[in-house]
Symmetry: C2
Subunit: 215 residues, 2 copies
């Protein structure tokens, strides 16, 4: 898993300050010793209880429907099946910056509208879906998708295909390989989402994937 | 899910700066206008690629073994089965501050040593485990555990019981209720981890749990 490093969280703070319509905290850019730096000032004490417990999650109290097979993969990375309009309120609560879409079909109009209204960028890496058990996953496509997923500037990000089992499962499995997870754990996680539809070809792909670099 | 708010990430930055053995960035405490504030300076540009892709995750390249049934629940909250020493390298990579332990049995000595070496605080909320399908989960205990889980000062935090299915499943299900997830999604997530061992009593507990406040 990604360490919750200071740099990671500061990068997200920077993203949020850039995106934010209301600048909650003071920030200033200064030049000092040839380097540009940004100083952020925040006032003690910071809120300690999650907004969940203070009841500020959803003002109108509506129930939220995560897409089927939804899960958090790591800081700023989520996975799911293809979301539809019933899931939009939930997706809105994630404050997504990007979606990584792994099907070759054109993105539906009402989904595109949702993305546009919420300033979410779409990255499409089309991989043919199939019911066949022994179809090869295209490695180059996975590598290109991984680069997008690993780029913190795109976070928070959602990965999805159609059912969130195979194509998404392979991409996340290769991410786990880069995170040095054991194959046992990678397959175990893959199985949780693929269940009875687990494919030998996906697992073989993940086992053979060279995670030493993204070049 | 928790929104990745500026306050949340700054709280984690503050936690990390307090914990950090090496102060990576300058910080100073100043008094101004009666308020104590901390200013953090960071230098542009911040790293954009996750440390994963730059190969800095694990210096000696060892494979990591997450505990069985491991998953990320939300920012700073993880779940799993009972970790043992094979999982310690992986747990170390999470930079945990706290563990929420849901069994009544005493914590094993070698696990306590690992916690002590890594300055991880243990919160124990003992709930009897059982093979019986219709045993009631104690609501007060779950409420007390939830308060700890929701307190950002305890993050990053790992919730575990013995197998990471029932007691952990109930606690996470009640958290999801507070996050306004639909019961359909809550049960679906519970089933992913409990699989063939899903219990009606757990699901009934989660359905009846009053998530409107933690009082």
């Amino acid at each position: 898993m990604k360490k919750p490093t200071l740099e990671y969280h500061l990068t997200i703070c920077k993203n949020l300050l850039c995106d934010s319509h209301t600048m909650k905290l003071d920030q200033e850019l200064k030049q000092e010793g040839g380097e540009l730096y940004r100083s952020i000032k925040f006032v003690e004490p910071l809120p300690t209880l999650s907004s969940i417990s203070t009841g500020k999650v959803d003002a109108n109290g509506d129930v939220l429907y995560p897409p089927v097979n939804f899960s958090m993969v790591d800081y700023g990375i989520y996975r799911s099946s293809f979301p539809d309009s019933a899931n939009f309120s939930f997706l809105k609560s994630l404050d997504l910056r990007s979606i990584v879409y792994l099907c070759p079909e054109a993105y539906p109009e009402h989904n595109l509208e949702f993305l546009k209204s919420n300033r979410i960028q779409l990255f499409q890496f089309g991989i043919e879906g199939t019911k066949e058990p022994f179809i090869n996953i295209p490695e180059d496509t996975i590598r290109e998708a991984l680069k997008v997923v690993l780029d913190v500037r795109n976070h928070p990000l959602l990965i999805h295909c159609k059912r969130g089992k195979h194509r998404t499962g392979c991409l996340v499995g290769c991410l786990r390989k880069m995170q040095q997870w054991s194959l046992l754990s990678i397959f175990d996680e893959y199985q949780k989402f693929a269940a009875a539809k687990a494919r030998v070809s996906d697992q073989r792909f993940m086992e053979l994937f060279d995670a030493s670099s993204l070049k």
